[in-house]
Subunit: 456 residues, 4 copies
């Protein structure tokens, strides 16, 4: 929303759909107030009562949903703790990510069918986790869809690489924009790798190697927090912000450890990376997590944060305060502009594998660079991962494919098999794995219409 205020070249109409009509309405009010205050009348916001209404006539569709609610997510993240399985995020992979997928896939099938009927030529930009699974679902349900999954995790790594160069004296502090850091990206969302990186005529790898040699043990705390979005204030950090920093920032130790062992730069926050590795490495227990310099994000914090955000939205809606506009650092608007023919963008994106990663299964959703142009997103050939990382990535790619098949085939036992083979769950006995699966399903899945499996 805020980026639109600063946009000069394109204009449009934004239709909002939310399963809570009131939230859609609130957002429309806030959006319209914001643009009118900044004299950007070319943008208007409209809340819509149905998905079909919102989609019809669209050129670009953004999807960002929470599959289920935070109580479901509390089960995703915390229920496995009873079995010794800790998760730092629990939304992409692992026990939590797979159960969340069981809620996500049916919803994305609905969305894909709605796009097919109401806006088959629109671009669908997806920001929902689990990213690979939700994007793959769109294509599996409606193969001609034009969809892409976008995520800012690689951007944060690019910012870190800029900092690395600045620390090494290649440029003054804060002078390198992350867009100047050219990285070759390959892998899957939240477990993405960089095997080439340059800034101008410099190869970044030797600098990163020095950096890791220096900081791998003690950690690097000056790195920017894992997400800088919505960080508004300055001065003395308010408690809300302190909590956010605590749960989202990291000492980059996981990233550096992976680099020292594998030689490639892992391009996601440590919280995510840890979940895609064998859990004994970085997630064995809370003490180990702390020792590695990152944090388990409790869902209780998310609930509190959501309440605060809702409260603030209410304040904005009622005009008791005005929202400040600031450039977000997200690329959503740049993508829209490129797709509309305004400029060319090269960035990382999640797309079905059509040859960009020849060592991954065809049609699996992989994350690589792509060129964004008028009505086109074309991935760059990214080469192959070394065999050891290929093994780790393939584990997750096949789990993602498996959980999607399980829902499409309404096969609860297949879902359990995939769950039981998960890196973390496979440390449990079959009996415990079954008990955990049954518990998580019972707590978070609505069977019958809209649920992943037929009742019975």
């Amino acid at each position: 929303m805020q980026d639109l205020v600063f946009e000069q070249e394109i204009a449009g109409r934004i239709e909002l759909y939310d399963i809570s009509p009131e939230d859609a309405e609130t957002n429309a009010v806030i959006g319209n107030a914001l643009v009118s205050r900044h004299k950007r009348g070319q943008w208007t916001f409209h809340a819509k009562a149905s998905l079909e209404d919102a989609l019809s006539g669209s050129d670009v569709v953004f999807v960002s949903i929470l599959p289920g609610d935070f109580e479901d997510m509390a089960v995703d993240v915390h229920a496995p703790e009873a079995y010794g399985i800790y998760q730092s995020v629990g939304d992409s992979v692992g026990a939590g990510g797979l159960i969340r997928a069981l809620r996500t896939i049916p919803q994305f099938r609905v969305i894909a069918r709605a796009v097919e009927h109401c806006a088959p030529d629109a671009w669908v930009i997806n920001y929902t986790n689990p990213m690979s699974i939700s994007t793959r679902t769109l294509y599996k349900e409606f193969p001609r869809i034009k969809a892409a999954g976008c995520c800012h995790e690689v951007f944060n790594t690019q910012k870190l690489l800029a900092t690395v160069l600045e620390l090494a004296g290649c440029a003054p502090e804060g002078s390198i924009a992350r867009e100047e850091i050219h990285t070759r990206v390959l892998g899957i969302n939240h477990f993405t790798w960089i095997d080439r990186a340059s800034w101008k005529d410099l190869d970044i790898f030797p600098y990163y190697k020095q950096f890791a040699a220096r900081y791998a043990e003690e950690g690097f705390r000056d790195a920017p927090p894992a997400t800088t979005f919505a960080t508004g204030g300055a001065g003395a950090e308010d408690p809300e912000e302190a909590a956010r920093r605590r749960f989202f920032s990291s000492a980059e130790r996981v990233k550096m450890d992976l680099f020292r062992r594998y030689g490639l730069i892992a391009a996601a926050g440590d919280r995510h990376l840890a979940e895609f590795c064998p859990h004994a490495w970085y997630l064995a227990n809370p003490e180990q997590v702390e020792a590695w310099g990152y944090a388990l994000t409790p869902v209780s914090w998310r609930i509190a944060n959501q309440n605060a955000l809702k409260e603030r939205a209410k304040v904005y809606r009622e005009g008791r305060a005005t929202m400040k506009a600031a450039v977000s650092g997200e690329e959503g608007l740049a993508i829209v502009k490129a797709l509309m023919g305004q400029g060319t963008l090269i960035s990382n994106v999640n797309l079905p594998n059509q040859g960009q990663m020849p060592d991954m299964p065809r049609d699996a959703v992989v994350e690589t660079n792509a060129v964004f142009l008028r009505d086109r997103i074309e991935p760059l050939a990214a080469g192959e991962l070394p065999v050891d990382l290929r093994a780790l990535v393939t584990h997750h790619v096949l789990a993602q494919e498996g959980i999607i098949e399980a829902v499409f085939e309404q096969d609860r036992e297949k879902a359990f098999r995939v769950f039981s083979q998960d890196l973390a769950v496979q440390t449990l006995s079959l009996r415990d794995a079954r008990a955990l699966f049954d518990h998580m399903c019972a707590k978070t899945l609505r069977n019958g219409a809209g649920g992943p499996f037929r009742a019975g």
Copy 2:
């Protein structure tokens, strides 16, 4: 050897090479005595002092070696127990299999080069474990080699299926030969799967389903022991035989459990199957192994058994006793005959993937059926594994490829990375994994010439 006695159609000269010249000589003496006693003068045995001598002029080469000695194998199998990792065999996969691979690969490179120079058109029939890795090494070192890996594990499963039919009343007990059981085989050695099975016009799957329903919990002890070879005696079982039964037979519970969960018939002994699965399932600790109805084979038993065999060989060599000839049930001779143009054989075999398993990496050594004909072994297209089993098999295929690359590239750190990602080892912290790897390497690898890694 024994099969030759009964062979009527072909004849030949057998040259024996062993790193122990004395053992080769012993075997030659025994072999010649055996065939002369049975008036099979068309076969002669000759001990050879060098690999090159033995290979030159050969049409078919059999390779069956123990990489290293049983003290090394004791480290393979038992060293990980200190870290809670139990292994039932430890020769194909897992911590033990991978370290054994580090000893095997350099030896098979030597063999491949010797074949290239001395017998480039000969067929190489490999019986060595780790089977997939050793066979793949032959092709990687000498891509034009004509090599195949053979193993009897699938045969035992075919025997079990015959028993299943007999128990169901389809045929009188003992009346179905295992060769009549037609199975479609796909996967990798010791983790091979059957997704189609028939006898005459019967589909075996419904019968196996009933069988598993009946016996999955209590186990099926009347099944033939996992290996029947060399089981000579009758009457009261001698202690040696009792130990063998104890360590090699199983209640087939692992196999039936896998069937009940995955719907395919696992075609190897439970001891092998367990090692290819997450270790929490069947190998968490000795008690769990016992509960599942199979056994951990202690290397001490192998050492004792080897001593007994050597003693018996000495007896045979010195003429103090005569070896009895019995048909072995192995297919080695049938394969030789087919390759020589005597009949056509369809059987399972380990070969580089040239399309027979389109969901596995090209050139990985996979186990499927093949047709054996004059100078040809042609694999049958075996289709794809279901995505969940594909994930388990792919884990091992990439580990196998990774450990081979590590040796070819002399990259000890890559070997460690592969080791650390192993299904069982990945339950350890990185520190423990490193300690275990270093210990096992130090105990069993000779660096420098002939070792997998350069000294230093």
Copy 3:
């Protein structure tokens, strides 16, 4: 039919459907008379009024149709002659084969849908030309179909190879059965290649090389006629038989010329092979055809022959003569028995590419060996063609895929593009190619319902 008389192991009910109900009835009468005369009451024949009736309850379905009638075929074969394009058969490939495909594909879509609805688990054995196109259509319309295309051309080449060995003195004349000749087969129907061939322990290639050196120029006329089916009589050849010999036999010169240039044994009749090669090689004009020792089969002969066959059928039906039973040499019954679980058969067959020819597009229908077993036909990995032959085969594979796409997409212009790129048609100017295409379509295609393209 005749083979059934000699069959001892299986029995069944044969339902006949023909677009001419009278013909179906005639065949049923003849069939029942034949089996009752030979006391084979276990087989019964029944004419059915609809395709659906005939299919319902079937285990195995045989499809052998003439797409259109012989007047259409006269256009296929002879219309291009006005433009200097001669065709020896005109039913598989080239201008005639592609136009015939436009009639065939819609009919096979109907058959595939009928199988899907009435007998989805039945095996469909297809004997219709164009073989590759009609078999591929079945799978494209109903992907789960169990269909295979069978053809005896390779058998004739195997007979020739037996003769080659007998001529070389390897065995007495007539002593080698074609089933003893083991060939590795790869390519597409009627343009199939043998790159390995053996009989017992002999490699046939050196003998074939000598044979070609001896006969390539003068031709080899003692070879069996290209088809021996239905050749009944002995003694002085009757005129009908003489005409058949004239149009179907060859001097094998095309086959030998291809061998001398490419080093592989072409495994189809010269009449077919010539059509798959650049037409300037063997089909430039009738004189060149004669010089190469084979013949252009005029459709007028086919019409006369059909009339004679119908007349003979009438005679049989009315009991004025009795049909003699003789073993046909076709494999249809052996295939049925293998699929029913009676024995194992290895033979060549046309199946979608699932890895058996890794250098051909996935799903293209290719001809290789396969193993036939209870409810299974599993192709053998056949390796790759040399790059020059791969180019020729790929030309036809892509034309086949293109003409099928054109019909499925109702795209007449795509059909023309494929036609215009055909090896023979591409020697015409675009204007002539268009005129020929329009003429052939106008004469042989019924648009609208059942036709390949929408009226328009």
Copy 4:
């Protein structure tokens, strides 16, 4: 050379190697004079006596050679005319292109080995025809080479598309730079296709369709000449320039005809496109060529032009005239800058297929877009060609692979087989094809050392 004068950001040393040392020296003198006159002392030119000397220490290597001399090329182009085969260029494909390849491949093997030994990390930018074959040879000889083939034909098509938009009134005449035309490029060099094209927010295809409807019959002569390089003068056209226009310009009728039939935009000059199609379409005889609005380039013109260029070089070298510097429109310098880390470039380029065209054989050299960055050229996934164009492109790809194999394997008969299957040559009888092949080889190939085949 001329572009360097205007270059501000990079500097360097240019070493020239030519099989004629005098020509290298001449070029060095001219280059140094040019840069010193323009005060660009940061660039220096040096003639080198050996390839190894020139390569050592290089960061970027440009290769642009004439394989053989113009007398050889006269044979390539004109010898087939005796058999009715006309060629408009004769350097990439067809009879002339394949024979030229037999001279090119051995030279590029030498170059690849020299790069391997003297500059293994340098980028090799290749401008030599046959482009696909010479670039593929570099990779086949030295697989780790960093090489790319560059060609300006697509640029000319982009210029045409700019003109199309200007004619349609989308922008003032001459206002659209070709770099603003975004095309998706796929295919092979000189037979390259555009399936997506946009300018800002406009889809160019509808405009091009109108353009083709308007001009397909009469031709479009205002299009820029097929090559604008070195066209210096203004005012009354001099005879030299008139000849050039006559032989290189076209009415774009071939391009428009292909568009009207296939729906994709062919992205090369008509002279090239015609040669990649069946010759009866556009190259049946000189009259047809003229009717289609383009020309056969006689080698006599090339010889005269070369003499004129050499004369002019002499004049420059002796200081009797000064070379004028003008921006060339070629991208060589922009590529160098991007590879050195100065900016990012997206352009079309010839690279081994690593997934960018999944319907073409792996490792075949294909032409698609790529991103040029510091030390990287990464192709964009370009999707698949429609099946009809795929057939035409595949024909040439396999011929290219075949002729390369023939030279690497020293197999003259394989070279003949590939030659005989060429689109134009396959219209000849085998006897004529053989005679033409033998004649062309005899006239242009030096056997023995450096020749493609062993003497004998």
